[in-house]
């Protein structure tokens, strides 16, 4: 992947309305997001010859989306995927363009995450036992939510590194503060104090409602094309410097080894491909399905040493104005949860300086990182520049 450096770009981003109850289908949300991204890029729908999405059986198909945009594309692909899929599908799109198969690819994630299927509220017991080989080793014990699965990692990691509940609170407070600057954030107008945070009971330790992402109804879309074709777009291109992805665990059941996460392995190759170091990163989107997941990735991606991540966040470094402004639209904890894609959209807007002249802009930012986490076992990440 090293050879693709700066030769591909994200040229359009867009989203639908976000709400608790869309009153419509994921297809409508995807159409809204796709139209917004196409407009943002200054393209016509028929300029898109590849459509891809990731889903958990909760979306529309790429075929449907293309059809109702009036496009007959060369290539459609729908994958069952988790929160590293934005980065992984962007890599697929780059590869297909590089292979001469496609010119311009639209990638989307659309779901009624609140009014439809809800990931965080647990699954139908037999479905998960049957669908996941090994589900029968967790489901009978009442462990059916990602908060419980990732919490097992968090408890151990916090024990080993001295991360406290208050440290997790600093992650939440930083992102909530960003949401107060973003009128479209779902928790805009609902600031959070440490006092309130610490007084909020856990749903499943070590996480309370503030530590957990906001499941909403929303569609997001991103358009990828070559640096050459990006010149035909009206938007400022944001170039892909490097990408990497990894599945790491020595067992399909990732609780078998809770001492490692895939992000640990992605980081090295990512920085090598991009030709930069953590010190070069001006702005970040760190996958935040839960507050602790951010802490663990800050360690994995080298922004703070193991054992020092708590202090790093307590010093306010994740806030705009800090060393590593992170999830500057509020992240999935307070803007909304589109399975990672809304964080990718935000990093593009920051690097384009779309917020210039407002308190939302990370001043002079040139290089950004966007990380995905499909679980402890699968990660994908990319480094972008303007």
């Amino acid at each position: 992947m090293g050879t693709i450096k700066d030769r591909y770009a994200i040229v359009g981003v867009g989203e639908s309305e976000r709400s608790r109850k869309s009153g419509t289908t994921p297809l409508h949300l995807a159409l809204d997001a796709a139209r917004a991204a196409i407009k943002d890029a200054g393209l016509k729908a028929t300029d898109i010859d590849g459509f891809m999405n990731y889903n958990e059986g909760d979306s529309c198909t790429s075929h449907q989306l293309a059809t109702y945009l009036g496009v007959r594309p060369k290539y459609v692909k729908d994958i069952q995927g988790g929160g590293a899929s934005t980065e992984m599908l962007i890599a697929d799109a780059v590869a297909l363009i590089e292979a001469g198969q496609l010119n311009t690819v639209l990638i989307y994630r659309s779901l009624n995450g609140s009014s439809g299927t809800r990931v965080g509220r647990g699954y139908d017991p037999d479905m998960l036992q049957g669908a996941l080989a090994g589900g029968s080793f967790v489901i009978p014990y009442g462990s059916a939510s990602p908060s419980q699965w990732f919490g097992m990692y968090a408890t151990r990691h916090m024990h080993e590194t001295g991360i406290t509940k208050e440290h997790l609170g600093h992650v939440c407070l930083s992102f909530y503060e960003h949401a107060q600057r973003n009128p479209k954030a779902f928790l805009h107008g609902k600031p959070l104090t440490m006092e309130t945070y610490l007084a909020t009971p856990d749903i499943s330790s070590p996480f309370n409602i503030h530590d957990s992402c906001l499941e909403l109804d929303e569609g997001n879309a991103i358009i990828v094309t070559s640096a050459e074709k990006a010149k035909d777009c009206t938007s400022k291109p944001v170039y892909i410097m490097g990408m990497s992805a990894r599945q790491c665990h020595p067992h399909v059941h990732y609780w078998n080894d809770i001492d490692q996460v895939a992000s640990d392995y992605v980081a090295k190759e990512l920085y090598e491909n991009a030709g930069v170091t953590p010190d070069d990163i001006d702005v970040a989107s760190i996958y935040d399905c839960f507050s602790w997941v951010v802490m663990r990735q800050l360690e994995a991606y080298g922004f703070a040493k193991r054992g020092e991540v708590g202090d790093f966040v307590a010093e306010g470094n994740l806030k705009i104005g800090g060393k590593l402004p992170t999830n500057t639209a509020g992240g999935m904890l307070s803007e909304g949860y589109t399975h990672g894609m809304n964080n990718a959209i935000e990093i593009v807007r920051q690097l384009r300086h779309d917020y210039e002249g407002t308190d939302r802009q990370v001043e002079d930012c040139k290089i950004g990182i966007c990380t995905g986490w499909a679980g402890p076992d699968i990660a994908g990440a990319m480094i972008l520049r303007n």
Binding site: P125, A133, S136, A144, H253
Partner: protein
């Protein structure tokens, strides 16, 4: 007077072609672990081949019923995420690192444990709860010996 029948509401472990020896052993209040004859790694939960090296040369090793461990990690859930847990909140889910085979960690609930007493490193012991006429579920209890 009517006979009180309290049906087991929680999910019952599904046996399949790969995990049946584990659950069959559990039904007899025993622990069996899958082990690779080639690379000697244990696979827990078991699968069609060795998850470490891919070898098909796997067998089950019987470890008996005297299984002790220490708590490697845990979560305490205050909300039921599945049917049957609503009356037993909070639910403790813990990963126990086996004393006999430290490279294996097994996830169960810890029964008869107060939340305030729960900590990483705490000694636990495996017990088996009869959940239906022919099925039993491995669980952890504090090991006070």
């Amino acid at each position: 007077m009517t006979q009180a029948t309290t049906a087991y509401q929680k999910p019952i472990p599904l046996k399949d072609i790969d995990n049946a020896p584990y659950w069959d052993a559990a039904d007899n209040h025993q622990l069996a672990l899958q082990k690779c004859e080639d690379c000697t790694a244990y696979s827990q939960p078991p699968g069609p081949t060795c998850a470490k090296c891919g070898s098909e040369n796997v067998r089950f090793e019987q470890l008996g019923d005297d299984i002790t461990a220490t708590v490697y990690s845990y979560v305490v859930s205050y909300r039921p995420f599945l049917p049957g847990f609503q009356d037993e909140l909070p639910t403790i889910v813990a990963l126990g690192q086996l004393d006999q085979v430290p490279e294996v960690k097994i996830m169960c609930n810890i029964l008869h444990c107060e939340e305030k007493d729960l900590e990483i490193g705490m000694p636990i012991r495996m017990t088996w709860i009869d959940i239906t006429e022919d099925r039993a579920l491995p669980q952890w209890i504090p090991n006070t010996n």
